[in-house]
């Protein structure tokens, strides 16, 4: 039936299905001149931020493919990544070996947390997003207990620059001087004034290739099947629960690596806050890129990161120049992040309703029944 659409209908469909990214393009186009930033500055910022955030956002893809929605549980992985970074800082292992070791440490923690998260979500089918969001808060409590009370006490952390003066617990901020931007500068490249974190881009490209390849595997195919109809998949013999857990585990592990990449770029770890908004900001970014709760692609990730962060950079200055208050930008940021998630969830529910009606159209009434036959 899709072939029979007229051009205007196609255009309308295009605008409806891409409403969110188009809206943000418009906002950005309006805000950029007002902010008064130079093109060079903005390009540099965008390149830095693509390197910093893309990996985290990419980690959201697998659970969406598996029909589990937006994985707010990715903060679990972020916490695992931070634990890895705390250890390598304590052991003073610097450079690329330090980051690789941090990843190695985070992996088993991420896997355990991922299995936990996946098992919980299997008991909350259809309510994955709310459940994983709250699970994030719960694990945050466990993380604080470990970092604030166990580290330096039960778990040996020696370095006085890390441990609070009372003898246990990690300080509020950890300087990651030894690993600062080592991925970014692994392959130094400068074009004009703009430096490009080629090393990080390389890692991100590898992950993209992995995701593209993964979709073609049996496991990827099973995930797509489960996303559409769990019952049918189950009756065809696909191990539904196990596959769902695997998708969450992979996502959590990737989120852990993503957080390490994020923090090596930032150069400091804010022990109790860094992971707080990882989930919300990543999810807002992928949604702004045009993804939905049930469908997301790699281009969605990059478009989203660019648009979301462009707004991040531009809006404080635009706010200051317009109204004289830079705080407006910060307010805007929060407002947009949560607002966009709320809109996405409502849109998702609305679209599902519409799809259902379309699907059942043939069952409704005599006139509706004849339509599809006439088109043949």
């Amino acid at each position: 039936m899709s072939q029979n659409l007229t051009f205007t209908e196609k255009l309308k469909n295009f605008f409806i299905s891409n409403a969110v990214p188009i809206l943000f393009v418009v906002i950005t186009l309006l805000a950029v001149p007002v902010s008064g930033f130079s093109a060079n500055y903005l390009i540099q910022e965008m390149i830095t931020r693509i390197g910093r955030n893309s990996f985290l956002v990419l980690s959201l893809l697998l659970p969406i493919i598996a029909g589990m929605g937006l994985n707010f549980g990715m903060v679990l992985g972020a916490m695992a990544g931070q634990i890895g970074l705390i250890f390598i800082t304590d052991w003073s292992i610097v450079g690329i070996p330090g980051l690789v070791l941090a990843m190695l440490i985070s992996t088993p923690i991420s896997i355990l947390l991922g299995i936990l998260c996946g098992s919980v979500l299997n008991r909350a089918k259809g309510r994955e997003m709310a459940t994983s969001y709250i699970l994030g808060f719960f694990i945050n409590g466990v993380y604080q207990l470990v970092v604030l009370y166990f580290m330096g006490g039960i778990i040996p952390v020696k370095s006085p620059s890390l441990v609070l003066s009372r003898g246990y617990g990690i300080r509020n901020t950890v300087a990651l001087d030894g690993v600062r931007q080592v991925f970014d500068n692994m392959i130094p490249l400068k074009i004009g004034e703009i430096s490009i974190p080629l090393g990080t881009f390389f890692i991100i490209a590898l992950l993209c290739l992995f995701i593209l390849w993964f979709r073609k595997t049996k496991l990827g195919q099973d995930m797509r099947a489960i996303a559409q109809d769990m019952k049918v998949a189950q009756s065809a013999g696909i191990p539904v629960d196990r596959t769902r857990i695997i998708s969450i585990v992979i996502s959590t592990v990737l989120a852990g690596y993503g957080q390490i990449i994020f923090l090596q770029n930032m150069g400091t770890l804010s022990t109790y806050n860094s992971h707080d908004q990882t989930g919300v900001f990543s999810i807002a970014a992928i949604l702004i890129g045009g993804a939905t709760v049930s469908r997301a692609t790699i281009p969605n990730v990059f478009i989203g990161v660019i648009l979301f962060h462009m707004m991040f950079v531009v809006s404080p200055m635009a706010g200051k120049n317009l109204i004289g208050q830079a705080m407006l930008g910060e307010y805007f940021r929060q407002f947009i992040s949560y607002g966009i998630i709320a809109i996405a969830l409502v849109l998702h529910a609305w679209r599902r309703q519409k799809d259902k009606e379309m699907e059942r159209r043939s069952l409704r009434g005599v006139k509706a029944e004849k339509q599809p036959q006439a088109e043949k």
């Binding site: 065809a236 696909i238 009434g365």
Partner: protein, 537 residues
């Protein structure tokens, strides 16, 4: 092409569900390439028989079965459906089990995809093999061509006409390596006539390939056309096993519905005088999952008890649900000459209609609440009765005293067995719960009362009470009653006229005194063919 080799033999199959015998000594044989038509009303035992063949878990969970299932001369006892699949039995269910966003190929190959090796498999296991799309396409096309139909292998299921979905599903079973027996449960129910014809041709091709087929359908014409042999079940027993050639549709219909009707029809029906038309339904459609109503028109006159019968899933339950506004519906409804706004339950109630739902535990009753609340609930909502008003009607409180009196009255009239009117409804037996549902509807003083499956799941004694109650109420107050039931005999015992619904349409309306086999024929989808010429494709 039927050979002499027996592939499946079921011997003396007997099965009880909690002391309720649903199958008794059913035996049959199926030869290679033979097509067996399995016929029976709902509850005749068809599904149970197939569940046993398939090793479904409901069977073992309820104490297993007696008798033998023999495949290729060896007795088998399947633990689950996957064992049955491995043994070469394929099943196509009535509802599609396809993934809507997958292509034909992907669906046919679901979980049996052709795979390619890569080194990561050594580390992470075989699920990281990649799909071999070219081989999958070849295999899918082979399965489709075995059916002798043309389906675009790259089309998404969601965009397909229903017929193609059905073929996709069958092709999926064909792709299994050792397919020997194929069970098709009402495969033509969702198809247009021409699509059904193509399907029947395909089945004949499959039988030529040596696949034995068990074909379940209520369209007797198809059964006669395609089957080599028929097996008619009624109340769990084999009524007849006969070569299809030696029977006629009329004969099968009689075997299917004909019960040992208790001869004591003591009350001769005194001709009731019926009034004017009170309910007029035109081109009603209702989107109720599993009970879709497509195009139904009928009229009911004042004081009539109008029955709606038909097999499960054909749409009879959708009719009252749609009229009462509980499921999305369209068409035209006139109540007492005035047209009724659809999809708004309150309007339907205000128009003087009441509904006793088929799902009494789900929507009919507030199980944890006492009897009196249950009885008065609808009347409070719809008619603002049994309420005390304060501050000029801004605040309304329940009038507990009057509610109690109301409940006591109905407990007496309907002989509801309970401790008192404050007892929670969930403590009552099924029959008494059903009476509460009736009381709840009576309390509204309806002019038109819809009753769905009033005797489902209650014992015989209680059944009679419920039916008698309805009849008395009709005689005493002249209330028009529209009763939906799967049990034809029940309808015939109290109704004046009965409409039989088949595939979402009224197949025919007969007086209750018409012959059983006439009803059977209507249920079997043998409508006047000239009327049913759908210009499909």
């Amino acid at each position: 092409m039927v050979s002499e080799q027996v592939v499946l033999k079921m011997e003396n199959i007997t099965k009880d569900y909690y002391g309720n015998r649903v199958l008794e000594n059913v035996s049959f044989e199926l030869k290679k390439g033979e097509i067996l038509g399995l016929i029976g009303e709902n509850g005749a035992g068809k599904s149970t028989l197939m569940n046993i063949l398939f090793g479904m878990s409901v069977i073992s969970e309820t104490g297993g079965y007696q008798g033998k299932v023999i495949i290729d001369g060896k007795e088998v006892n399947f633990k689950n459906a996957f064992d049955a699949l491995d043994a070469g039995i394929g099943m196509v269910h009535q509802e599609f089990s396809l993934i809507p966003g997958f292509t034909t190929i992907e669906n046919i190959m679901l979980n049996r995809e052709s795979l390619k090796y890569n080194f990561l498999v050594e580390v992470f296991g075989s699920r990281l093999k990649t799909l071999d799309r070219t081989d999958m396409k070849d295999r899918a096309e082979k399965a489709i061509s075995a059916l002798g139909v043309k389906i675009d292998p790259n089309m998404l299921i969601a965009e397909m006409p229903v017929g193609h979905k059905q073929f996709t599903e069958i092709a999926r079973e064909l792709d299994r390596k050792n397919m020997k027996i194929l069970v098709l449960d009402e495969p033509t129910a969702v198809l247009t006539e021409s699509e059904a014809d193509i399907l029947i041709q395909s089945l004949k091709r499959l039988s030529d390939l040596g696949i034995a087929i068990i074909f379940i359908s209520h369209r007797l014409k198809e059964i006669i056309d395609v089957c080599d042999k028929i097996l008619v079940l009624r109340d769990g027993k084999t009524v007849r096993e006969s070569p299809a050639k030696e029977t006629s549709i009329r004969q099968i219909a009689q075997w299917m519905v004909g019960r040992n009707i208790e001869e004591k029809k003591d009350e001769v029906k005194n001709e009731k005088k019926l009034g004017d038309t009170v309910l007029k339904v035109e081109n009603l459609w209702v989107d109720m999952p599993g009970e879709t109503v497509r195009d139904v028109s009928f009229e009911v006159r004042e004081g009539e008890i109008f029955g709606i019968g038909g097999l499960a899933g054909q749409g009879k339950l959708g009719i009252p649900n749609g009229i009462m506004g509980l499921y999305e519906a369209g068409g035209r409804i006139e109540v007492f000459g005035k047209s009724l706004e659809m999809n708004v339950p309150v309007k339907a109630l205000k128009a003087g209609m009441a509904f006793v739902a088929e799902d009494r535990r789900g929507v009919g009753l507030l199980l944890e609440e006492p009897i009196d609340w249950n009885i008065s609930f609808t009347v409070m909502q719809a008619q603002n009765k049994y309420l005390k008003s304060f501050i000029g009607g801004l605040v309304k409180w329940r009038d507990d005293k009057k509610i109690s009196e109301l409940a006591k009255e109905y407990i007496k009239i309907l002989d509801i067995k309970c401790v008192d009117e404050k007892q929670p409804v969930q403590e009552l037996s099924g029959g008494n719960q059903q009476k509460i549902c009736l009381a709840k509807a009576f309390a509204v003083n309806p002019k038109i009362l819809f009753v769905s499956e009033p005797t489902r799941g209650i014992d015989i004694g209680a059944k009679k009470l419920v039916l008698d109650t309805l009849k008395q109420y009709n005689q005493k107050y002249g209330t028009t009653i529209i009763m939906t039931s799967s049990e034809l005999e029940e309808l015939r015992s109290i109704c004046d006229n009965i409409a039989i619904v088949d595939e979402g349409k009224v197949a025919g309306i007969l007086p209750a005194t018409a012959a059983t086999e006439d009803f059977g024929l209507l249920m079997a989808g043998k409508v006047d063919e000239s009327k049913e010429k759908v210009s499909a494709q």
